[in-house]
């Protein structure tokens, strides 16, 4: 037996046959309905059998092993890890909202919120209509590109088989284009982070279905030639898709609709601060210009004679269809609605202002410490990139080493190795809800790590030192696959194959 360590056994290791959180079991029901013999399960599934206290303790302890916004500064670029107001969760979890079956008669209270949310998102993006159906950013992208496809098809413009994507794009962009049956055509960016217009001009053709962009781009800078890009693509007959992951940077300052985009998805879990939940859920609402309105995914909330109702196939016969079993991540949308109402007109603009202030301040301070900004001549948007290629050469430390070492200092690491085209990069997004003091403390940590690079590089290479585990062997994880608990009966019982 050794001292306290944060290691927690697997829940299966706490299990014993016959144990159980029995107050959670339903009371016995009289009656004798039985499953036919040939369809019955023969042996019980190897789920854990634990007491309620064991389960509560186990998962509470597990939770403590996570970094999170509620406990740590979390400047994960491209992810907008800002404060998730508790009110959003509290009021979205009112029993009437939680208890409502999605297929029951249309709940006017809930639909009122959704209808207003659609309207607010329209206003903010400058688009003509919004569907709240997509369940995360990537599904919003899917909806967007599927609408582009439906649009061209509806016009019998069937030769358009390519989607243009800048090199720096988020992985979901090319993956989405493929899912929609398109071929991806990558174009480069120039040294200042703008799209290489000449390359774009060469890339567009009658095969161009559209382009997927975000602005500010994933390089953390505002795409200055956006009007020209829009013109180029539109003239080629393509449509413009806006990846809304970076909307936080421009809320109230410039609207994708006004920049010429035809379709946009928003990451409500980023810009509108619904929680990231350890990986999800998100919500990827899509907004469209007038020409794509008819293709929006279903359902959408409409209002008629002071009653709200779901618009369905009958209302939008050209719709790209349904993307979820019901109506998307309703509860996430509810949280976004509450957040937006809390911010209101004034608060919404401040988001971009202070996100930009924090990012530019942090960039300047890190530069002063000696770090190299990837685009030093540019304003940072809500995020910016540091490249450690010098340090990599000089001290053989990697961006990953710095990321891991930051954990020891009590900071979640920035995004590493994305965008791929900047070597040894850290994409840093402080968000508007962090205080100057926290940015300063982060700078102190970075300065200290910089010292360590010179004097104690091993400290970085072997970081982290203070987490429940040391650096993990990812190669082994992928080579010697251990994906489920081996003691499980399901695993032991020979499978059919």
């Amino acid at each position: 037996m050794t001292e306290l360590s944060l290691r927690e056994p697997l829940i299966f290791e706490l299990s014993k046959p016959g144990r159980g959180a029995v107050t959670q079991f339903p009371p016995n029901v009289a009656g004798s309905v039985r499953v036919p013999e040939n369809l019955r399960r023969r042996s019980p599934p190897a789920l854990p059998e634990v007491s309620e206290l064991q389960a509560v303790r186990h998962f509470t302890r597990l939770s403590q092993m996570n970094f999170s916004i509620d406990t740590h500064f979390y400047p994960l670029g491209s992810c907008t890890m800002k404060y998730n107001p508790k009110a959003c969760n509290t009021y979205a979890m009112l029993p009437e909202f939680l208890g409502r079956h999605p297929l029951g008669p249309e709940p006017q209270g809930f639909l009122a919120c959704m209808y207003e949310l659609q309207g607010m998102l329209q206003e903010i993006t400058g688009m003509q209509a919004v569907s709240l159906t997509p369940m995360a950013g990537a599904q919003g992208e899917f909806a967007g590109v599927a609408m582009i496809r439906a649009y061209h098809r509806a016009r019998n413009d069937t030769g358009r088989t390519e989607i243009i994507v800048p090199q720096a794009a988020h992985g979901t962009n090319p993956a989405t284009a493929t899912m929609c049956g398109y071929t991806v055509r990558e174009i480069p960016c120039d040294a200042n982070g703008d799209v290489d217009i000449e390359a774009l001009k060469l890339a567009v053709s009658p095969a161009t279905a559209g382009i997927m962009l975000t602005n500010p781009s994933t390089l953390g800078v505002f795409e200055r030639k956006i009007v020209q890009i829009a013109r180029t693509v539109h003239e080629a007959g393509g449509l413009l898709y806006y990846d809304g992951a970076n909307l936080n940077a421009i809320l109230g300052k410039v609207r994708p609709g006004d920049m010429g985009f035809d379709v946009i998805h928003m990451n409500l879990h980023k810009t509108f601060s619904t929680p990231h939940g350890g990986g999800g859920p998100g919500s990827g609402a899509v907004g469209v210009s007038a020409r794509l309105k008819a293709f929006l995914p279903l359902p959408i909330v409409g209002k008629e004679n002071a009653r709200y109702r779901w618009l369905t196939e009958g209302d939008l016969p050209q719709s790209i269809g349904r993307l979820s079993g019901f109506m998307g991540n309703a509860g996430v949308n509810l949280r976004a609605y509450i957040y937006m109402r809390l911010l209101g007109r004034q608060g919404m603009v401040r988001v971009a202002e202070f996100a930009a202030l924090n990012a530019n301040y942090l960039m300047k301070r890190l530069q002063a410490i000696g770090f190299e900004a990837a685009y030093p001549k540019r304003r940072a948007s809500h995020e910016f990139i540091i490249t450690l290629k010098q340090e990599h050469k000089a001290y053989h430390v990697s961006a990953m080493d710095v990321a891991k070492r930051l954990l020891d200092y009590g900071f979640h690491a920035p995004t590493t190795y994305f965008p791929l085209l900047v070597p040894e990069c850290l994409l840093i997004e402080p968000t508007e809800t962090e205080a100057k003091e926290d940015l300063d403390r982060f700078c102190d940590a970075m300065a200290s790590i910089r010292e360590e690079m010179r004097h104690d590089p091993e400290k970085l290479a072997s970081a982290p030192h203070t987490m429940p585990v040391r650096r993990l062997d990812d190669v082994r994880a992928a080579k010697q696959l251990d994906l489920i608990w081996k003691g499980s009966a399901a695993y032991q019982e020979p499978l059919g194959s």
Partner: protein, 461 residues
């Protein structure tokens, strides 16, 4: 300023460090002609005001007594589930990219994967997809990637599969030229009969989808269907309800061994029953499990157990080379953000219920539905739609228009069931009703009494 911590002094100092005069200067790269004017949005509300507003909206919706299932089921959710899942450390973290600072989420997902494999009998599970419907769509795409012996891109989609799921599969997989061929159900039994499939024997299909229990709540003869698929070199996609798996044969054991293979090849479904509230339709989560053989074709995140530099066990995301952030246009799927928090809830739920609790939930739900059906069929003009045994929902046929009857029930605070007339016009006036362990005899009595009134009232109309 809501959620903004900056004082006037902070702002001044920060602008000084940046070397600009004002915050506006930070936006000077945006072409002037593009700059937005004032937004037309409501004034900010205080938390007190939004609380009141949401309370009023919630009160409008009320708390009717619900008897719809149809893909989303009202089960008791243990109090620990959400009191733990909403802890900031779970709620406000993101995808565990930094494994060492995310062991809580990672270990939990590993436990979740193990539990889903225990339920389905499969070898590997992912860390969730968006919901049941999109999981089915992903399963279809995965089947096309996996079934090397088929080049048809054609998938058999029984009409007894949830029709919305069929729509979603079409909307998503359709873009990749995958087509779906419907398979009719037996009007009498309410299940997909082998006879309906025989017509397709010896044709090239990629996959057959089998939903168990099917959309009508009826139990399919899964062994025969699975064997037929495997005999025809067709992959079997099982679409299952996780609670039902506590009672029903796991998809891995469907059918018999044929050419070295037994059971479903891909299992997917809606995870909502496992501790996730109805909440007007989401967020829920989709699950997916498969054979180890196909693991590299599976979409979504996967957590693996490994060791750290000191040899201690730990968890991290693995097989990321399947995913969009590495493989980009060649990824297995575009999915990035998934439904992590719901998986957290489900893992806590399954831990609390365990094998015995989950079986009791399944059994009680089945019994309550039996009780409900018997009770309602005593009402004049109401009869059972199908003869096959059902799990926790079933079809009722009415001699009045279902829409009218349901409207009358709703006026009494009862959501009586799902009107099937649009989706299945051939059934006439039909509705799908469901009861779970949360429906007690008093509730069923209340429903029966209200239905008795509604059936005679709509008669009068």
């Amino acid at each position: 300023m809501a959620f903004i911590p900056h004082t006037a002094e902070d702002i001044a100092r920060m602008l000084g460090v940046i070397g600009v005069n004002g915050i506006e200067d930070l936006f000077d790269e945006i072409p002037a002609e593009l700059r937005a004017g004032a937004l037309s949005l409501p004034e900010p509300l205080s938390e007190m005001e939004i609380g009141r507003l949401m309370g009023e909206r919630a009160a409008i919706d009320g708390r009717p007594l619900n008897f719809i299932g149809a893909g989303a089921y009202e089960h008791h959710i243990p109090a620990p589930v959400w009191s733990i899942a909403t802890r900031g450390e779970f709620y406000s973290a993101y995808t565990p990219y930094q494994a060492e600072a995310s062991q809580g989420t990672l270990q939990l997902v590993y436990e979740y994967q193990s539990m889903m494999c225990a339920l389905t009998g499969m070898e590997v599970s992912n860390a969730s997809l968006y919901d049941g419907a999109s999981a089915l769509a992903e399963a279809c795409l995965m089947a096309v990637r996996s079934n090397r012996s088929s080049s048809s891109r054609r998938i058999l989609m029984p009409r007894a599969v949830n029709p919305t799921y069929a729509q979603v599969a079409r909307a998503i997989a359709g873009n990749q030229d995958i087509s779906f061929v419907p398979v009719d159900y037996d009007r009498f039994a309410g299940v997909t009969l082998l006879e309906a499939l025989e017509a397709y024997s010896a044709q090239d299909f990629t996959a057959l989808i089998v939903q168990q229990p099917n959309f009508f709540g009826s139990l399919e003869e899964v062994d025969a269907l699975t064997n037929w698929a495997h005999e025809n070199k067709i992959l079997l996609i099982a679409l299952v309800n996780p609670i039902s798996l506590a009672l029903l044969k796991p998809p891995a054991q469907w059918g018999t061994e044929i050419a070295g293979v037994r059971g479903a090849d891909i299992v997917c479904g809606e995870g909502q029953s496992l501790g996730v509230p109805l909440a007007s339709g989401g967020p829920y989560f989709g699950f997916m499990a498969t054979r180890m053989h196909y693991v590299r074709q599976m979409p979504g995140r996967i957590v693996g157990r490994t060791v750290d530099t000191e040899g201690r066990p730990g968890f991290s995301l693995t097989l990321q080379a399947r995913e969009q952030h590495i493989r980009r246009s060649k990824a297995t799927s575009n999915i990035c953000t998934n439904q992590g928090l719901m998986v957290t809830a489900a893992t806590i739920y399954m831990s609390l219920l365990g094998p015995r609790g989950l079986e009791a939930v399944a059994q009680a739900s089945m019994q309550r539905t039996g009780e409900l059906i018997s009770a309602l069929c005593q009402v004049a003009g109401v009869k059972r739609g199908f003869t096959a045994p059902h799990f926790h929902e079933a079809v009722l046929l009415l001699d009045r228009p279902a829409a009218e009857v349901l409207a009358a029930l709703y006026r009494k605070g009862i959501i009586g069931g799902l009107d099937l007339s649009e989706r299945y016009p051939e059934l006439g006036s039909a509705m799908l009703v469901c009861a779970t362990e949360t429906k007690l005899s008093v509730d069923i009595d209340r429903y029966r009494a209200a239905l008795t009134d509604a059936m005679s009232a709509s008669c009068a109309t």
